[in-house]
Symmetry: C2
Subunit: 454 residues, 2 copies
Amino acid sequence: MNNVIDFVNTNRDRFLDELKAYLAIPSVSSLPEHRDDMRRCAEWTFAQMRGIGLQNVHLAETPGHPIVYGEWLGAPGAPTILVYGHYDVQPVDPIEQWTTQPFEATVRDGDLYARGAADDKGQVFMHLKAIEAHMKANGRLPANIKVMIEGEEEVGSENLDDFIRNEKARLSCDVVVISDTPMFARGVPSICYGLRGLVYAQIDLRGTKTDLHSGSFGGAVANPAIVLAQVLAQMKDRSGRIRIPGFYDDVRALTDQEREEFKRLPFDEKHYRKDLGAPKLFGETGYSTLERTWARPTFDVNGLLSGFTGEGSKTVIPATAMAKVSMRLVPNQDPDKIAALFEAYVRKVTPKTVELTVTRMHGGKPWMTDLDNRFIQATGRAIEQGFGKRAVFMREGGSIPIVSTFQQELGAPSVLFGIGLPDENSHAPNEFLNLDNFYGGVLTSAFLYKEIAG
Amino acid sequence: MNNVIDFVNTNRDRFLDELKAYLAIPSVSSLPEHRDDMRRCAEWTFAQMRGIGLQNVHLAETPGHPIVYGEWLGAPGAPTILVYGHYDVQPVDPIEQWTTQPFEATVRDGDLYARGAADDKGQVFMHLKAIEAHMKANGRLPANIKVMIEGEEEVGSENLDDFIRNEKARLSCDVVVISDTPMFARGVPSICYGLRGLVYAQIDLRGTKTDLHSGSFGGAVANPAIVLAQVLAQMKDRSGRIRIPGFYDDVRALTDQEREEFKRLPFDEKHYRKDLGAPKLFGETGYSTLERTWARPTFDVNGLLSGFTGEGSKTVIPATAMAKVSMRLVPNQDPDKIAALFEAYVRKVTPKTVELTVTRMHGGKPWMTDLDNRFIQATGRAIEQGFGKRAVFMREGGSIPIVSTFQQELGAPSVLFGIGLPDENSHAPNEFLNLDNFYGGVLTSAFLYKEIAG
């Protein structure tokens, strides 16, 4: 590995220049006017992958933006790693809030500012440079590696599932490495070992054919906005616990080890609260904020709409009332089962004075890997060597549906090793990537391939 | 009175022709393109009032449309009646749903179809013809009469309060007669002796500075949409009773006589429910639908807005949640007192996890007159003579703010005697006035002046 380390250290400036060139391509997948830029960015990625010694590099066309694929399979008998990332980025508006131009990458105080620096071109590039380091320093990689970089992550990865299903044999692997998440805090390299799942649904209530005059009809019929409030109010008790019968049945309890790990994390509750601008933090009694956001399920209302919502007053009894609601799930809750329990409970608590429609929308399974899983352990050792400090184990409150797809279609576990920062502004102006994290990340990735090879 | 009755009966056709001419003027107060028509309609009213023998007839200019005023004060010592009505009408859209043109009054099956036929030109004209009948048949009126016809009722009577305040002496009277409401049902001439008041307010809750990602932050903070639901759910119990402490303290209970009167009314609950398209009627336990809509206070949510309300799903914890709410009040509830009780209760039940703002919007006092009030009794006798049947006593669930203004500024009680019908389409296509009601109404009005004179 010394050759590899030397190669990385002597090529730092070139890596940075190349990354700046990568970030200069405005690969905004959601905007039609960047269609040519998307193609240019895919071709740049293609050329990089060829240049670092990957084989069978090609653009896989999709109905949307192409997927860039390359591989090196010269280690028969060794494990195969699939590296997944994306070359598309978020739009840049509001552009006037950027200190420097989003597609002119600029270093300030050791941080590299540009759209895509952290999410996800910088982290994709980290892997490409780790692969290059092995190939240039030793002529080979310690494990077989497949690299799949898509161009539609920021627009819902619409064509990725089909691609994975159609290319199962080509993509078969022992483990997937995804670098698209932040570390817990600056200077705290992290491994994410759990994600929450999701059930999303819409509740529609109808009281009457049309809106009614609240003077003439007030007192005659149930008001669907009030009924909706009563239904939603029954979803949680005062201690923040969800009241849907059976909701918690399959929840995997936090282990003592996990709770200890979480407690050791440098989490400043007061600063966190101030940052959100919340009068108070609040959640299920008996759990810390990190436990609640990472390892406990939630019930949230995402939207409410009924009646008159403009300026001023209108004395109307609304005909309808609508709520969008979602539940974040934790292992081992099943989205289908929870959706059914939710709907049954809503039906039970909604009075017969209104017509009820429950529409299930998208969802996803929660995900979690054991801390003593061998790939997690390998990542821990790689981080210790790449960053010179022990990794922390964290979970994430959000969902990354692709992780479930990899598990389901390829039977492969994922390792989430990210080098972004919690304040990286990945979907906001002034996105940045810390350069120490980038170089540490290149080394860690290089060590990771070796540690996985064993 | 025989002269008067004869005059009305022999002039029916002319009355109808004149009314058709009145209805032909498109006096839509809300549309700027009808500004000249409004003036023309005011002048038509002015000419009518002169023609029937009123004195001191003039157009009182306002910042909006003029008020037409006239009087006959030739009965010193007799009571003075102020007749109030309006010559402006609602817009006609959707025009394609009219069977005949809205400004070409057409008789079908004994009903006269035109915009303004019932609301309110037809009812204004009814009084003008009753006055004419007395003047032409007997050369005088049995009481002093002042007639004030405004042109801005359909746009909120914005300039009327100022006019009344500035012209207190000119308008001073013993009783105000307002004919701008429907009777209870076809063939059921009615006297409205009570109206509900109103308190309208907006509740705004703020949880955090900005909307949050429900994955990353779900479980960390209170969701203001859920808090709003919990707050609103505490406003009423399951039996429909409002839980604001002190809310019912000043409610005047229904008398046995009133409940008996209401029970006798031809009210078909099943038809009413079907007409509204409601799965079930619902309201405070222990009261009939008419009792609930006329004589019991309400709490309604008029609007709800929070978070994401478009198509599809967005996994957001809303920063804010808003509800517009209103309470219909009954005698002797006071809007200021109820607004204060409401706000105190909202403050009490809203947790400290969110910032609360309560904004009071418009409101108005409930109104009611005793059934044995002498003007109500006079109206009852007039209806018996004009329609040949006993009047029913009803209340209305809505508010007519002008009634409170008359009470407050002139110290005069109002009599609400209307000859519209509940299905008259006053703000919809195919508005109509039943001609039997019109002729019966002219006679009743003529008798009413005499009965009030005593």
